[in-house]
């Protein structure tokens, strides 16, 4: 009989994750991050990790938990504003960070999942990002960018069924489906574990083929980084 994809918790689902591995971690800022998996990594004895994640956490939260434990050797990300711990480690050269334009970042991950080895894009031409990269002229000059893949992806969805079909809430989807496609092993934590067929086929955001392990998460904080309310408009106008 085929082994079930359902695991009891993050530590069990990540039991084969080891030092020196590469890890993709979904989420935009703190929106849609795999909170339980990150907490498990903070408890696990793993180091020398290569982490691919848009922000590497923010404001002391999310992946910052393992960043400050010095478990990350190399990071790929697009934006570190709002993450003073990462900016500090970068300035002190304690971590190797490759800053990637966000669209190139998404496309490199998508390419990784789709079997595309590399692609040309005008993004970054004439900037530090283009240094050392092949340039080719199409309608305008473009640089060659290579695909990103990883040993593991940790992502969070609102709902999963036992096959791993996923449904994401609002803007929590971001990089997660792409990462699930680009990683050898994708671990998904969810707020709701539903039955097969409960997510209508037309509404499946990521087919379960790309998902290897699923568990029902707990104690979600779902933190808001910057609370803006209608009731407090005009505060920016000077």
């Amino acid at each position: 009989m085929k082994k079930s994809k359902i695991y009891p918790d993050a530590l069990t689902a990540l039991s084969d994750f080891k030092s020196n591995m590469s890890l993709m971690s979904g989420g935009f800022g703190l929106c849609g991050i795999a909170e339980n998996c990150i907490d498990a990594l903070a408890q696990m004895d793993v180091t020398n990790l290569t982490v691919i994640s848009n922000n590497i956490g923010n404001s002391g939260r999310g992946l910052v938990k393992i960043l400050i434990q010095h478990k990350i050797k190399k990071a790929f990300c697009s934006y570190v504003g709002g993450n003073p711990d990462l900016e500090k480690q970068m300035m002190e050269k304690k971590i190797d960070v490759e800053l990637v334009p966000q669209g190139t970042f998404a496309e490199r991950i998508r390419a990784g999942g789709m079997g595309i080895r590399a692609f040309y894009t005008p993004t970054g031409y004439g900037t530090l990002v283009a240094e050392g990269k092949e340039v080719k002229n199409f309608d305008r000059p473009c640089i060659l960018e290579t695909a990103l893949t990883a040993d593991y992806a940790i992502i969070k969805a609102q709902k999963a069924d036992p096959y791993g079909n996923l449904w994401f809430k609002e803007t929590a989807r971001n990089f997660s489906p792409l990462m699930a496609m680009a990683a050898k092993v994708t671990v998904v934590e969810v707020e709701e574990l539903v039955n097969l067929g409960d997510i209508p086929p037309e509404d499946v955001h990521l087919p379960g083929l790309f998902v290897q392990k699923i568990f029902l998460g707990k104690n979600y904080k779902n933190e808001i980084e910057i609370l803006k309310l209608k009731e407090k408009a005009n505060e920016l106008d000077k």
Partner: protein, 208 residues
Amino acid sequence: MSWTNNQMADEIIALFPKGSSVNLGIGIPTLIADRITPDMEIMIHSENGVLGVDGRPSAKTVSATLINAGKETISVRPGCSFFDSATSFGMIRGGHIDFCVLGGMEVDGQRNLANWMIPGKKVTGMGGAMDLVHGAKTVIVMMAHKNKEGSSKLLKECTLPLTGMNVVDLVITELGIFKPQNGNFTIKKLAPGISKEQLSNQAELFQK
């Protein structure tokens, strides 16, 4: 008298034809979302995966999973859609977004923009800015005219690492609206009571 941030936002909104798609960058450009009314039929895109951003949410409707690229809580309007980051940047990189409005540290007369790092001092990362400046049909930079030391951020040549080369279509500051071209800035409009001499100690950089 120089424009307020809201007045700058209104000057930019006046440039958008009805039915435009617009991406708003982090910082003061997000003010624009609060000032666009439904009758303008403008679809606001945010690169974290939403088309159809409205202004701020109320305390009753606020959601931790509904944010813009500045990680601020937002609301959405009817006709809105959500999608993954590759689709979102496909909208940008594929040339489907009409306007982008982003912040800036420096812009020069060669249409270059710098807004992502100060070597040895500050690194924020480029986020989606390098994609936006090459993908959006019209690139507008919305920023303070002068830096903390009081010198103009509109320059003959950028000194900071570039975000994009030869990409800026229009710059709006509290002092006016300027079009970089051929090494200089053409003055499209000045805020009330502002004279050319107040724009820079290199007045020759600005032309009527």
